[in-house]
Symmetry: C2
Subunit: 356 residues, 2 copies
C-alpha cells in the first residue's frame, strides 16, 4: 500500500487543505498522499460499523497494511497496483512474471507485518485487443506464486482500459503482535532478510541489453522476474518479539528513510554490512553498492530491534538475515551511509515519485 | 465484483483452456471471465492458509462478494473499478460524484449479500497533470457517502496512469445467512427495492443536453449522480429469511438474467409491476420501460423468495419493495418480459460487455 508506505498516523500533522491550484506532479506523490490521508482521518466519522460485532481498527493508513482486530485474531488488508509503462514494460516483464510480481508485492506487505497471506481479489484493466493467451499467462503466474504461498484468488473485476493495469487486494491474518514501521527506538539495530539489489541488477541487465548471458546474469534476472516474499521470515521475526518492520520494495536506503520518518528518528547504514550476492558484485563491480541501496523490488524485510533481541533473533531465522545499520537520534527520516573507508554521506531520497 | 457477476461455482463447467489465439474482445467479457474463473479454481491449491486459525472460504468468485467464515462471523470482500472514458466521463460525472459512485457500487455489492460495509482500500490511477483540488473533491465524495454508511477508508495505493481509474476494495461483515444469486427456485417471486431506471434516465438527460431543467430532471440526475445503496434493506431481507439476492447495477433485465443463469432457471418480468418514479415517466413517456429494464446503475437489490416468504417480507421492509416477476423453468438465464397488453418477448441481453 502506498498510502501506507509513507506515514504512520503517530506523526501525522494535520494539513490545511485549502484551495491550492496545483497539479499533483507539483505537489509530489508524498505531498498528495499526506494531505489526502489527513483529510480522510479528519473528516471520517467511522470506523465504528463493526464495533457491535467485535471489530476494532488496529492499524490505519500509514503502514504496509491496514489491520483490525476481531474476536478471534487480527486481520490485514493491503493493495498494490502495477501500470504498464509506469511499473513495467512488456519487454522486461512477460505476462507470467507480471502475474507473479503483482501478487508478490502484496504478499510482501503482509509478510512485513508478520502475517500470513490469505485471500486475493484481482482487478484487471485491459485493452480489448489483449490476447487471451497472454491473460492466461498472467493468471498462470499469479496461480504459481499463490500456490507456493497458499493464497487463493476469490474474486475481482475486469474492465476495459486503454492501458494495462493490475490491482491486487490481499487479506491476511496474524495471531500475535503486528510489526509496525513506526516503533523503532534509538539504539535499535537494523536488520534485513535476504540479499539486496538483485532485482535492480537484473532489471539493469535487461534494459542495457547484451551482457546478460551466464549464470550470474541469470540469477539476477530471476531475482527481478520472480521475487520470493519473506513470509516465513516475517512470521518468525514477529514470534521472536521484533516489533518494528516493513518490506524493502522501493530500495533499501529509501525504505530505511521511511521507517525512520514514521519512527521520528534517523539511521546509519553500513556499506560493508550490506548483504549482496556474489553474482551482483560480479556483474556490477562498480555499481553494486548503488544497486543494493537503491535498486528496489527486493521484497525482503527490513526490521529494527534492540541489540540483545537482534542477537537472539538472527540465530532463530530459517534463512540468513544480517545487521546493516543502527537507529540514531536526528532529523526524522534522515539516513546516512557509512562506507568502509570511514566516509559518511547523506542518502539522497532515491524515492520513486509517481507524479514527479 | 465482475467475476462475481457471472457465475456461481455450482454451475461451473470446467473449460478447456487450450491455445485459443483470440483477443479478449472476440471472446467477450463473460467468456473471458468464465474461462479464467475455471482456471483459477482448478489450478488453485488453496484456500487453506487460514484453516488453522478458523478461516473457511464460504463464497468463492461468482457472486456479488466473496465471503469467508471466521470464528466470530462471516466476512465479505468485493472490488469494483471505474475507468475514465469507459465507466464515466468528466462531463457527466464531476469528481465529487465519481468518489460517491465508486464507493456506492461496492457498498451495493455488500448490501446485496445482506452485509454491513466496513473497511475500504482505495487505488487511484492518475495522470501527473491531475489538479490536486479535483482529487480533494474525489475524496470529498467518498467521505460523504462513507460517513452516511459508516465505512472507513483505511489504506490504498496511488499510481501514475495515462487514464484516470479508481478501484475500491471493500470489506463487510454479516452475522447471519448470506444471500446468494444461485439459490432461486422455481415458483419464487422476484422483488426489487426502490425505483428502477432513474439513474439511466438522468444519464440520458445529461448526454442529450437541453431539456434537463425542472424538478423531474433534477430528481433523475440526482439518481445518476448520487445512488443510495440499499444496505438497510439488504440486512432486513436477510434477517427475514430471504436466501437469494444480488444488486441491480447493470440494468434490471440483465441482472435478472444473471441471477437466473446462476440458479439454472428462467424468469418472467411484468412491465406493469415495474417500480418507476413519476419523474421518469414524465421525462421519458416513450422510453421509461426501456430505461427501467436496461438503464443500469440503480444500485438497488433484486431478490427472490417463495410467495409466502415474499408476502411477509414486503411488509417488514423500512422502505417499499415490490414484486416484479416470477421464476420459471426454462433455459438457464432466460428472461422474458410480459407487458400489460399480454405481449411477451425475450429480453435481449442488454449486458454491458467491456470488451465487445
Amino acid at each position: 500500500m502506498e498510502i501506507a508506505r509513507l506515514d504512520s498516523l503517530s506523526n501525522f500533522r494535520p494539513y490545511r487543505y485549502n484551495h491550492l491550484d496545483m497539479q499533483i506532479k507539483d505537489l509530489g506523490e508524498f505531498g498528495v498522499i499526506e494531505q489526502l490521508c489527513a483529510m480522510v482521518v479528519e473528516q471520517r466519522s467511522g470506523p465504528d460499523n463493526g464495533a457491535g460485532l467485535g471489530f476494532r481498527l488496529e492499524v490505519d493508513a500509514g503502514d504496509d497494511t491496514a489491520a483490525w482486530k476481531t474476536g478471534t485474531g487480527t486481520e490485514l488488508i493491503t493493495t498494490d497496483t502495477m501500470v504498464e509503462g509506469v511499473h513495467f514494460t512488456r519487454a522486461t516483464t512477460p505476462w507470467r512474471d507480471l502475474g507473479w510480481k503483482a501478487m508478490a508485492s502484496n504478499i510482501s506487505d503482509i509478510a512485513s507485518m508478520g502475517g500470513l497471506p490469505l485471500y486475493a481479489v484481482v482487478t484487471l484493466g485491459l485493452p480489448p485487443e489483449t490476447e487471451f493467451d497472454d491473460l492466461k499467462e498472467l493468471y498462470g503466474g499469479m496461480l504459481e506464486i499463490n500456490n507456493e504461498y497458499g493464497v487463493a484468488i476469490i474474486g475481482g473485476d475486469m474492465v476495459r482500459s486503454p492501458v494495462v493495469f493490475i490491482t491486487v487486494g490481499l487479506t491476511g491474518v496474524h495471531s500475535g503482535e503486528l510489526m509496525l514501521r513506526s516503533t523503532a527506538t534509538e539504539g535499535d539495530l537494523l536488520g534485513v532478510t535476504g540479499f539486496m539489489g538483485g532485482s535492480g541488477g537484473g532489471l539493469k541487465l535487461m534494459l542495457d541489453e547484451g551482457n546478460d548471458a551466464g549464470e550470474a546474469a541469470q540469477y539476477l534476472k530471476e531475482c527481478h522476474r520472480r521475487p520470493w516474499p519473506a513470509v516465513g521470515q516475517g512470521q518468525q521475526l514477529a514470534r521472536a518479539g521484533v516489533k518494528t518492520a516493513m518490506d524493502v520494495s522501493d530500495g533499501l536506503a529509501d525504505d530505511v528513510g521511511k521507517m525512520m520518518r514514521a519512527s521520528g528518528l534517523s539511521a546509519r547504514v553500513f556499506v560493508e554490512k550490506l548483504p549482496v550476492h556474489p553474482a551482483l558484485k560480479e556483474m556490477f563491480p562498480r555499481d553494486w553498492v548503488d544497486l543494493a541501496l537503491h535498486g528496489g523490488e527486493d521484497y525482503q524485510i527490513l526490521f529494527a530491534a534492540a541489540p540483545e533481541t537482534m542477537d537472539r533473533v538472527l540465530t532463530l531465522l530459517p534463512q540468513p538475515a544480517v545487521v546493516i545499520g543502527e537507529v540514531i537520534m536526528g532529523q526524522p527520516g534522515g539516513v546516512s551511509i557509512l562506507d568502509n573507508q570511514g566516509r559518511e554521506w547523506a542518502s539522497e531520497t532515491g524515492g520513486w515519485d509517481h507524479f514527479g
